[in-house]
């Protein structure tokens, strides 16, 4: 390609989405519902109970109600949410991974397993009537003891009749010679680290619109999801419908963060119900539902041992973890495997024993919340490194300097495969450089400077490192076609939940085709336009879908060149210059080529339309270091994050401002998870965080200035050199902030649990020597 095109990739092109979104012109699922009938789900009020009877007679009699349905009358009795993934055999072999078969019903019939579980469904002319009727559905429960403690659950009576116990998944691997290393170590530090249950809580809750088209014998589902193709596949799996009978489209989505990278019973029930009733149906989740019934995250306990030598070099690492998966998780394999794989961190770890289990309990179902095992693993390892440093009397920074992988180590193979079965090899350049860069951005001396500005607080500094496998396969798709005016239309299987796909994928396509961005149109994900795809999660879209767009654009270019060669006078090679094909002084552009494929053209009925599948060989790794400065109020134990910095070894930044936005948002969610957010349950299993007055999200006033340094190392694993960054901001926030709190209080190892309990800090403050406490 020749010409004057200046690449867009690498520049912070303004997001094309934002003008509409900021003007309130976004089109979210609720905006598209129009006059669709409103659906409300009747949900379990019991954490664990037998269902003896469901009486819908009174509900059906409410004026404005069009129907009240249970699993039985929808033909869904016994139908469960289909599983989404099959673990890779090589990974299973290497890690002894196993998991139980889950049968979470679409609508509960005999037994309920968490408060918020869908039991029945009401269709009405509006949401008011539907809620009135939902109150009148009488469900006779025989309460059963709820299981709320995952350790206890492992030995308790099974929650599901088809299972022998409540172990949902198990994993374990070991390498090196941990036994000898622990026996001979200079020091072994033991720890117990808990990360509480919290989740994404996106600005827009879930929502589904299902419109039956009798003429086409098809249901069109518009759902606020990150994974439209998996939603379609799950609906098909339950119903047996042909692919052409169901089309799933993605509207504007107001945040997903993994909560919407899940297939929900509500999505399947809406599709079934729409086809059955012939009605356009909308279910728009309200905040109360979202905080009880949408899939949650984290909730892990790690028991650790770290063996080090005199200088703090890691000799062996042991992490035995337990995930409280609630009543189930379609992604339990991902959560457990992510935790186990990321347990090793960005360090030289010669021996390790990693074991993990997931337990079923009577809490809400779980999804892959931003990081999905990575933050939990990083919390355990980073906190253990801090504990070892304190034990040895060296600085937290020093112990990391001594253990981080450098250019002398990398690429660094690990003796286990990744989840895709490919042997792990960290593909970075120099992880120690990130630690040094974050220290340049935010040195520990800044904490001392801030002390004077915060006389009522103790100020501390903390570090955390992470390593993140990004851009997992097995593939992603892109479709590009030439429109009649010569514009190129692009869409991918990786649906946007607000990340900026309409900007970034257009940048990538425009660069590959040497076109101005306004010559490329982005089409939101739609299974009707692109039949295969996977979705947006696991820091994968920019890399995997971006690569599919890139390769698809190059293929389209070759198609165009072949077409031009057949059309342009002369012979010899056809050049592509400034968005047009040239030979012997003659030029033809995309619009003319497109016309030549239409009726009467010399290539009649041969569309310039390519679908490209990009299959990464395996994941590509993003490493980074976080630094936090916090103030702990001397009177209250309240924690404020004063400054924050992230330095990460990412790949080529397609749009630096969007990458930066990913980091900032990730840090904000990390702050929330570390300090504020908790899905609580009382002793009877009732959720106690069902309003935003009780579930505390971080506010703008809780998020400090954040500096970001990008250390560019092209990824070898894809044609655009990108690495994922979607979870980078979140993963190390928990240990960095916790370490800063320890440092402020001069109490290494104090924080072992998130969200941080301010009462515990208050007690620690009162134990202080008098001169420190003023």
């Amino acid at each position: 390609m020749t010409g004057t095109h200046q690449p867009y990739a690498g520049t912070s092109v303004a997001r094309t989405e934002d003008a509409d979104l900021l003007a309130g012109e976004g089109r979210f699922v609720a905006d598209l519902a129009g006059d669709a009938r409103q659906v409300v789900f009747v949900r379990s009020t019991e954490p664990h109970a037998r269902v003896l009877d469901i009486d819908v007679a009174a509900a059906r009699a409410v004026p404005g109600v069009l129907g009240v349905h249970t699993a039985r009358d929808l033909g869904l009795d016994g139908r469960a949410l289909p599983s989404l993934t099959t673990p890779n055999p090589a990974f299973v072999e290497a890690t002894s991974f196993s998991m139980a078969e889950q049968r979470l019903p679409l609508l509960a019939t005999d037994r309920v397993h968490y408060v918020g579980q869908p039991v029945a469904v009401v269709v009405a002319i509006d949401r008011y009537a539907a809620e009135d009727a939902a109150e009148l559905v009488e469900i006779a429960y025989q309460p059963l003891d709820p299981l709320l403690d995952p350790e206890h659950a492992l030995t308790a009576e099974p929650l599901f009749d088809h299972l022998p116990d409540n172990e949902l998944a198990r994993i374990g691997y070991s390498f090196g010679d941990p036994a000898t290393a622990f026996a001979r170590a200079h020091r072994v530090v033991e720890g117990e680290y808990r990360m509480g249950r919290h989740g994404a809580v996106p600005l827009e809750a879930r929502g589904v619109l299902a419109r039956p088209d009798r003429r086409l014998d098809r249901v069109e589902v518009t759902t606020s999801t990150q994974i439209p193709h998996l939603v379609r596949d799950s609906i098909r799996s339950v119903t047996g419908w042909a692919e052409h009978e169901i089309r799933v489209r993605v509207p504007d989505v107001g945040g997903g963060f993994g909560t919407k990278a899940n297939v929900y019973a509500e999505e399947i029930v809406l599709a079934v119900l729409a086809r059955r009733t012939g009605l356009d149906l909308a279910w728009i989740e309200d905040r109360g539902e979202h905080l009880t019934a949408a899939a949650q995250g984290r909730d892990q306990l790690h028991r650790t041992r770290l063996a080090v030598d005199e200088r703090g070099h890691i000799l062996a690492w042991s992490d035995d973890f337990l995930v409280d998966a609630g009543a189930g998780s379609l992604w339990i394999a991902g959560i457990v495997a992510n935790t186990a794989v990321h347990a090793l961190g960005p360090y030289r770890v010669p021996s390790a024993t990693i074991r993990g289990r997931a337990a079923l309990t009577n809490k809400t179902i779980m999804a892959q919340y931003r990081g999905a095992g990575r933050p939990e693993a990083a919390f355990a390892l980073e906190r253990s490194l801090d504990a070892a440093a304190a034990e040895l009397g060296i600085e937290p920074r020093e112990i990391r300097e001594r253990n981080l992988l450098t250019d002398a180590d990398l690429p660094y193979p690990r003796p286990i495969p990744y989840r895709d079965g490919v042997p792990i090899s960290y593909d970075g350049a120099d992880y120690r450089a990130c630690l040094r860069a974050v220290n340049d951005l935010l040195p520990a001396t800044t904490a001392e400077e801030l002390t004077a500005e915060h006389p009522d607080a103790l100020v501390g500094y903390g570090l955390g490192c992470y390593l993140e496998a990004t851009a997992r396969g097995p593939y992603e798709t892109a479709r590009l076609r030439v429109l009649d005016d010569g514009r190129i239309e692009v869409l991918t299987g990786a649906a946007s939940a607000g990340q900026g796909h309409a900007t970034v994928f257009v940048q990538v396509a425009a660069d590959a085709l040497g076109l101005a961005m306004d010559r490329v149109r982005y089409l939101p994900s739609d299974t009707g336009e692109l039949p295969d795809g996977i979705g947006t999660f696991a820091s994968r879209s920019a890399v995997v879908a971006g690569s599919a767009v890139h390769e698809g654009a190059l293929r389209l270019l070759e198609r165009g060149r072949a077409r031009a060669a057949a059309t342009l006078p002369g012979d010899g090679p056809v050049d592509y210059v400034d968005g047009g094909f040239v030979r012997a002084g003659h030029r033809i552009g995309w619009a003319a080529l497109a016309r030549s494929t239409r009726v009467g053209g010399d290539a009649e009925a041969t569309a310039l339309d390519v679908t490209c599948v990009f299959r990464p060989e395996t994941v590509t790794w993003t490493m980074g270091a976080h630094a936090a400065i916090v103030a702990v109020d001397r009177r209250t134990g309240f924690v404020s994050v004063l400054r924050y910095a992230v330095a990460h070894e990412g790949g080529r930044e397609l749009n630096p401002r969007i990458v930066r936005g990913q980091i900032l948002g990730g840090v904000a969610q990390g702050i929330g998870g570390t300090l504020l957010e908790r899905f609580g349950y009382d002793d009877s299993g009732q959720p106690v965080s069902s309003t935003l007055a009780a579930y505390h999200l971080p506010l703008t006033t809780d998020v400090p200035p954040i500096d970001v340094a990008h250390l560019h190392v092209d990824s070898p694993g894809n044609p655009i050199g990108a690495r994922g960054a979607g979870e980078s901001g979140t993963i190390a926030a928990y240990p960095a902030i916790s370490a800063a709190i320890d440092d402020a209080l001069g109490r290494p190892g104090l924080v072992t649990t998130t969200p941080v309990d301010t009462a515990a800090l208050w007690r620690a403050l009162r134990d202080e020597p008098a001169e420190v406490a003023r």
Binding site: R127, Y128, E131, D132, E135, D286, R287, G288, R635, T636, F638, L676, T691, A693, H696, L699, T701, D702, T758, A759, W762, R763, R766
Partner: protein
């Protein structure tokens, strides 16, 4: 999160509102709606009829009486916070109003609504106790009556108002010479409810000794708490203000609280600290109050 069905009335005058209340015992007055509408959307409140007071412009006025400000029940929190007259004559009230929620809440929430709602964690009920305000109520059947603020709050979200009574006006004593005020609330996040909160109104005599002390505590019981010379602060009378005295007093009052927070020791500890801060601030606001 949609309310159950309700009827709706919008009276044009206080008289009309009182008649409606008398006729419809199940009607619930709606003022700013910042608590009631949320409770209705959660279906925790199910009034048969809402009596929307939004049209009663007469209750949005403020009068400057000799020793008191007379505030209409529909005075918005934002007005309490920003009105220069209120800031000058009842600075504690202005400071406390500024701590309520976020500005959007303060633009709509009203003084009378907050008092009638009687949330023990709310700022304005505690402010009324601390300032010794008088609440004026009216009913169609019995006309007007006035009661001291401390007689209004009975328990969680429960007042001594009769079903047919409406809070119409509130008289707030204005600040006197030799009086200082203090207010401190510890909230985890901007705009959040205070985990604890304390306010005080301190009067010193010409010799610099304590001549009067009223203390209010929020989120400390099933209702906002008042401690005055009749209950809890008498020992301080005649003493000069000192940090030691404040700490002793704060500790003894905090120990009597019954906070809703699950960690009672923590909540009481914070309550004592907040009160010490409020008392220090009050002392410093009186000329000569803090001795070098």
């Amino acid at each position: 999160m949609k309310p159950a069905e309700f009827g709706y009335l919008r009276p044009g005058s206080v008289t009309e509102a009182l008649e409606s209340l008398a006729d419809q015992p199940e009607a619930k007055p709606l003022a700013g709606g910042q608590s009631l509408l949320t409770l209705m959307n959660l279906r925790l409140a199910r009034p048969q009829t809402l009596l929307d007071l939004g049209g009663l412009a007469e209750l949005e006025r403020t009068f400057d009486d000799t020793d008191a400000l007379v505030l209409g029940a529909l005075t918005r929190h934002r007005t309490l916070e920003t009105d220069p007259l209120i800031a000058e004559r009842a600075p504690l009230l202005a400071a406390m109003a500024g701590q309520i929620g976020h500005v959007g809440v303060r633009n709509r929430g009203t003084l009378g609504g907050s008092l009638a709602h009687a949330d023990p964690a709310a700022e304005l009920p505690m402010a009324m106790l601390t300032l010794g305000a008088t609440v004026h109520v009216e009913s169609a059947a019995r006309g007007k009556r006035s009661l001291p603020a401390e007689d209004l709050f009975l328990s969680f979200f429960t007042t001594s108002l009769e079903y047919d009574e409406l809070i119409t006006w509130v008289s707030v004593p204005t600040i006197k010479p030799r009086q200082g005020w203090g207010f401190r609330e510890y909230a985890r996040q901007h705009g959040d409810y205070g985990l604890v909160g304390a306010a005080c109104l301190l009067t010193l005599d010409n010799a610099g000794r304590i001549a009067g002390l009223r203390v209010g505590l929020l989120n400390a019981a099933d209702r906002p708490l008042l401690h005055d010379e009749r209950d809890g602060t008498a020992d301080a009378l005649g003493e000069p203000p000192s940090r030691r005295l404040w700490e002793r007093l704060a500790r003894s009052l905090a120990d009597r609280t019954e906070p809703s927070h699950p960690d009672v020791e923590y909540a009481r500890g914070l309550c004592a600290d907040a009160l010490v801060e409020a008392l220090d601030a009050a002392t410093a606001r009186i000329p000569g109050g803090t001795r070098p």
